[in-house]
Symmetry: C2
Subunit: 349 residues, 2 copies
């Protein structure tokens, strides 16, 4: 072993070397190793090539292949912030789906700063991503439109813009919020508030709409100020908005939060107002994020399958990447939700 081999990475085996070893042309090796073209080569040489490749421990150089084929088998995943416990499972679902078809993912973070999207997109594009999964959609998302216009296939996940041409995998937010309200109504609550997320997000909108619809259906009033929305889906905003709502409507006995993080903020606001949950005020979250069952009190929330959401989105994207047809019918998947009963809700006093 030479010194350089010991200290530096030993050069990987190339197609050419396998070809020499098997006594054939590199192109033949390429064909033999690619399932798509394998039937072009005779059984005899196929064996020889396979044996040679095995013996030399050949691995195809993805970079060279990508350059030649103009496809990187890589997709970009744009999320606001991996710290939000919603995303790890989603990412895992994405990667598992991608792994099955030899794709990989490159993650980019926007930190909720939407202007970062186009910036991060540029570097993803430079790295040759074949498509994009975007979890940062806003209702009127010009950036998303321009992505789509640039010709890179996009799939939206969790949230979606009003541009119906862009496929999306979301949950039935409207229905989820309805279920939350129905649960509270069933417990006997009548003065219910909504501490919602930003109305620039499809989730914030749909959940607020669902809340209103369910209240109406239950014959309950929604006085002004009992439905408010935060500027972000964070604990802090949940606390702030919940505080305002409580100030304006001290008589509410239950609140439907925009998501679990905001529900935690509600916990804080209630504590600050010397109210107990669920004894004085019930709280319902949305998402059933990791550890929702461990909070104090354990959070009653609207559950959906984060992993499945990621998995489905990745599958939609891959299908889109592989289909020759330029414009497949835009898919808009909506995952089911279900109520998870824990200890943050109880009958009103």
């Amino acid at each position: 072993m030479t010194e350089s081999a010991a200290s530096r990475a030993l050069a990987p085996v190339t197609l050419r070397q396998v070809a020499a070893h098997a006594g054939v042309h590199p192109a033949t090796v390429s064909r033999a190793l690619n399932p798509e073209t394998q039937q072009m080569v005779s059984a005899d040489t196929l064996q020889r090539v396979l044996a040679a490749a095995q013996e030399l421990n050949y691995r195809t150089n993805t970079i060279a292949r990508s350059l030649r084929t103009q496809r990187s088998l890589t997709v970009g995943v744009v999320i606001p912030d991996i710290t939000n416990p919603l995303f790890p499972r989603m990412l895992r679902g994405i990667d598992d789906a991608l792994e099955r078809v030899q794709y990989a993912s490159l993650i980019a973070y926007t930190d909720g700063r939407d202007e970062r999207l186009l910036d991060r997109f540029e570097v993803l594009r430079q790295r040759g991503v074949d498509g994009l999964i975007v979890a940062t959609a806003r209702h009127a998302d010009r950036a998303l439109d321009s992505l789509e216009a640039s010709g890179v296939p996009v799939v939206q996940i969790n949230r979606r813009s009003q541009n119906r041409a862009i496929p999306s995998v979301t949950v039935d937010d409207r229905r989820g919020a309805q279920i939350a309200v129905e649960h509270l109504v069933e417990l006997g609550h009548r003065r219910i508030a909504h501490v919602g997320g930003p109305q620039s997000h499809s989730t914030g909108r749909a959940r607020a709409a669902g809340f209103r619809a369910a209240m109406r259906r239950a014959g309950l009033e929604v006085p002004p100020g009992s439905v408010q929305s935060g500027r972000a889906v964070t604990i802090e905003e949940g606390a702030r908005v919940c505080g305002t709502v409580l100030a304006e409507h001290p008589d509410v006995t239950a609140v439907v939060a925009g998501n679990d993080l905001m529900a935690l903020g509600c916990y804080d606001a209630l504590r600050a107002a010397d109210l107990r949950c669920p004894a004085d005020v019930s709280v319902v979250g949305f998402n059933d994020m990791t550890f929702a069952d461990r909070f104090d009190p354990p959070l009653t929330t609207i559950h959906f399958d984060h992993y499945e959401m990621g998995h489905a989105a990745a599958e939609v994207l891959v299908r889109r990447l592989r289909s020759a047809s330029p414009v497949p019918a835009a898919v808009r998947l909506e995952l089911d939700t279900q109520l998870v009963l824990r200890a943050s809700t109880a009958p009103p006093r």
Copy 2:
């Protein structure tokens, strides 16, 4: 706009096109755009090239560059499971450090199944990663040794193997466990147990060692069976091991858990034994993972900076990748720990 342009990604601008536009040779454009070689080209043509690149909105094709330079500016990150709330912040620290130097990361999951490491490594290698950050090290890790032997620079994070030649960024686990014990002793506890992680992990070992050392220093006994270790760092294993410990030593008034997940398991075991935390038994965790402050009770735990750990590991790796010297002195960074006082610890009855 032609139909194909509308339906497919419009072909990105190439170096050649910029060259034509600026009236120079492609090589000159390459030199002008690369900071390393920029001083080779005259101020005059530099301006022309820059203008042309700007005008055409040129982006360098990373794949082509990688093929030519044999460096992908990509590193692999191998973690057991992104669902463990320890990792998101760590990943973020890694990516932020990488982003500053134009690197990107590719994530791989082992799910604690160590045999997956080499398998996933193969695909990372195929994708041309320049180096690896590995969070799955075991005490005697043959796989890790073989990675290092294959010539791909590796940095260990969070855990480390006994192979001192491989750089690592970990926490001072020993000291952390000591601090935990000291805190409990100060509260007045004397019968303290340790519900530890696997002894095949450096973290499990060092924390157990720190526990023993601190007990000895405090003049306290460590009867057999009061220090046990689980097969994995999970809630379930925490519950199981804590159950056994409690059965053998019903008189313990405090337990130091191997990490926060195991601490949650301890909560479960205590509840199952009709014991209250901290009234009957105090619990200290390790890691201060997300939401540790939200548990019931809020978890007293040993804190360290997950983000910083990722950041530091990425910097070590990048430095290693950029240095020409084949074997830089192996760095073994150890981050500081500190006690975060919450509500899971209290004086013994």
